[in-house]
Amino acid sequence: MAPQTHSETAEYAADAAHSGAEGAFPPFDPTYFASQIFWLAITFGVLYFLLSRWVLPRIGGAIEERRDRIADDLDAASQMKSQADDAVKQYERSLADARARAQSVGAEAKADADASISEEMSRVDAELQAEQDEAEARIGELRQKALGELDTIAATTAVAVAQHLAGLDVTDDEARKVLAGAKE
């Protein structure tokens, strides 16, 4: 160890000179046993008092505070996570709803369109049918008229032919009678 510099303080050195207890091994020299126990009791007691009342609660408090804070933060985080999960669930639900609604709207529109198409079709069909009927009626009528006129033409033609060729004087009525007989 270091060379001891007792001579630094004369008084101290003087003390050292006579307190050496003549060759006694210092740790077993009982001269200062009482002093050591006395000062140990005081210093240890003071240290215990200061640590237990002041220092250790401070350190423990800081550790506790941090532990609480971390626990709080974890709690808050898990709460936020569950909130986020709820939000996701809600979003998915509303998305599914919207999809279903869109589908029903589409189906409805399709049904509407189909209905109006078929209505239009039947209306147009009916119109066409009516026009066709009308046209057919008119054709029939014309045909009837044409056939009637055909008899007259045939009669007059027959009268004219008979007069011309045979010199026969045939009246229209006779000609018509003959024609009617010929038609049967």
Binding site: F33, A34, V55, I59, A62, I63
Partner: protein
């Protein structure tokens, strides 16, 4: 005083302020001085470390909290959570011994006489501390368990005739605890410091011998270097051992009968 190489001189106690009460010499000595310094440094250091008390600890605060958790963990592991009621006591014991041991590692120190002193290298100090531990163990053991505390000397689960042998063994081992506890710390510190001083003395002597001897003086120097490192380890280890044995003895007071 030709004790430049005397390995024993470092353990001498010298009064700084003489104080006599009756026939008792209660002088404030260099030993007392180092006790006071240990207490002052401990409290000041820990309070300075905890001054900011930040949520995210700085370096100093981390060390303080590490010491706290270290001692608390030590008690929890050996004596269970109930042992934590003794936390301030065990912490005080641990830090006081650690501080005294580490202060002893200074060769020179701003102290009376300017040289270092190891408080724990005196048997009376370590013995007083271990008696305090045993007093607390016995006192609390009887306070908490009453008569059942004596089960400590009669462990359960062995054949009846064996108690004739086991009980005296247990009693002797219990009575020898304060002795082994105090001597372990005292002897470690004493022997370590004597060894350091002896090797330091070799360096001085070889250097003084002159010529070729001075070169050989390098060898004890390296030895001294290695021993110093070892002594730092011992300083910590002995404080730890003292504290953990205290915890184990306190466990006996909390749960006698194993």
């Amino acid at each position: 005083m030709a004790d430049a190489t005397n390995p024993i001189a470092q353990f001498e106690i010298h009064p700084v302020f003489p104080l006599k009460i009756g026939s008792l010499d209660l002088s404030f000595t260099n030993s007392s001085y180092f006790m006071v310094v240990a207490v002052a440094l401990t409290v000041a250091g820990l309070m300075m470390a905890m001054s900011r008390r930040a949520l995210v600890p700085g370096r100093g605060q981390s060390v303080a909290e590490m010491l706290y958790e270290f001692v608390a963990g030590m008690i929890r592991d050996t004596a269970g959570t109930e042992g934590l009621r003794f936390f301030p006591f065990v912490f005080t014991l641990f830090i006081f011994i650690l501080m005294a041991n580490l202060l002893g590692m200074f060769h020179y120190f701003p102290a009376p006489g300017l040289h270092g002193f190891t408080v724990t290298s005196h048997i009376i100090v370590t013995f007083a501390l271990s008696l305090l531990v045993m007093a607390i163990v016995v006192g609390y053991g009887i306070y908490k368990n009453g008569f059942k505390f004596l089960k400590l000397f009669a462990p359960s689960g062995i054949p009846l005739p064996l108690y004739i042998i086991v009980t005296p063994v247990e009693i002797i081992s219990f009575l020898s605890r304060p002795i082994s506890l105090s001597v372990r710390l005292f002897a470690n510190m004493l022997a370590g410091h004597i060894l350091l001083k002896v090797f330091a003395g070799f360096i001085v002597m070889l250097g003084a011998a002159g010529a070729g001897y001075a070169v050989i003086g390098v060898l004890p120097f390296f030895m001294l270097l290695a021993l110093t490192a070892l002594e730092f380890l011992v300083a910590f280890l002995q404080a730890y051992v003292f504290a953990i044995l205290t915890c184990i003895y306190l466990n006996d007071a909390l749960h006698p009968g194993h």
